[in-house]
Symmetry: C2
Subunit: 247 residues, 2 copies
Amino acid sequence: MHETRPLQVHYLKAACSSCSVLELCLPIGMTGAEVERLDTLIVQRFKVKKGAALYRTGDPLRSLYAVRIGSFKTCVVSVDGREQVTGFHIPGEMLGLDAISADEHACTAFALEDSEVCPIHFAQLEKLAQTLPSLQHNLNRLLSREIVRDHSMLMLMGNMNSDERLAAFLLNLSQRFSIRGYSSKEFVLKMRRDEIGSYLGLRLETICRGIAHLRDQGLVEIAGRDVKIQDMEGLKQMVAGCHRQPR
Amino acid sequence: MHETRPLQVHYLKAACSSCSVLELCLPIGMTGAEVERLDTLIVQRFKVKKGAALYRTGDPLRSLYAVRIGSFKTCVVSVDGREQVTGFHIPGEMLGLDAISADEHACTAFALEDSEVCPIHFAQLEKLAQTLPSLQHNLNRLLSREIVRDHSMLMLMGNMNSDERLAAFLLNLSQRFSIRGYSSKEFVLKMRRDEIGSYLGLRLETICRGIAHLRDQGLVEIAGRDVKIQDMEGLKQMVAGCHRQPR
DNA sequence: CTCGGGACTTGATTTACATCAAGTGTCACC
DNA sequence: GGTGACACTTGATGTAAATCAAGTCCCGAG
């Protein structure tokens, strides 16, 4: 769908620059020559089958990964096997940032569909960053952005009711698709209801009911995993007054 | 109380190395000479009165801050003025990491008591990091550690009931005090019940009841803001099987 | 085509926590 | 030394979401 055989060839040529340069956001403000040096790090790409783990909690940090095609969920797994989803990742986004902390991955990344990633060898990236100040700066920003994102998730978990959380989730996905050049109004959820639930701190039945509520209000049209946003403003309003009890 | 006039002089001499070196964790693995260069960044310290804001959402990022004395809460404030606490910070911990993302602070930091911080000019820090690889690496780790911490908060908000959250909160504080050389068994909560509640996604009444429950089980003794942990293992067990319904 | 299983939906009931309410304790300030 | 404000506690009641329980839908394998 995104991809046909003939396109593959084009990708192989464009892989490095399009993957690292345009989508990763690492190279903002870097010169062409600098970007070329960054691209030398990205020597390969590889595929991850649907359901397979790209890395697991405790794996040593070798590379960060840029999602190239497909999508991933990251989750923390507790002792007895139950999991908390900490994030979803679409093409152009980076995986593995939490591993820098202790030189080993702090969560497990599963492919939600057949996917493809660019590994970015971390030690080499750090080395290169020493000579490319703008690369270093961009890495710092990437890490910091993740922190900001997590804080807004905490806000969501602490202050929003179930319908508001769902609305916020859909809006967030919509924006991210938009940034990457996909439609912000129509997209496909690659994850199951229970995975959305885990991410939002809700049960899957509550997600279903939330979807029904948003549909009843004419805000979205969701059939299975196909999403159409019908009233973007309405959704935004719903999230704006983001309190458990709006009085 | 913490501070008398004569001590000031001593602090001025010792401020740089004790503040930046031992507590910040930035200089792990750096040589003495490198650490000295780092210390040149830390040219001053200043006081923040209880209740005052060290920085506010939207303020341009000039410095990161190392807490030297006292404590802070950071919160995201929503449009209509209600706040979500995103973290508490004790001496030796760093404030402002989320500002790197967009060159402006993404939350507001309030002093919970009369406090003191070391500002670390961020542009200079980045510049220095270019010539000190180990400093750069430590900054990366610091940022990544914050991400890991946030993920475990998300796990807590998604999977734990109120008593478990409170236990996890107390254990976390205990560990951090321990790392900084304070007692892990006895400490004082500098924040109000409603601030703990906001942080944990609960109401203040629920915090009170949680405290009563932990007390009834003989795990802790909490009188007002004075905490004594009586059964560390018991607390840990409580958090270990961290599910909403332990079956 | 049809059978089986997994994903999803919807209704009934339960429950953990929020909310409302009425206190007590404590400390700063007049 | 009294009093007012604020932090905290505890009880009664309400409610949003969890849990339990049937389903339906859809797709892929046989």
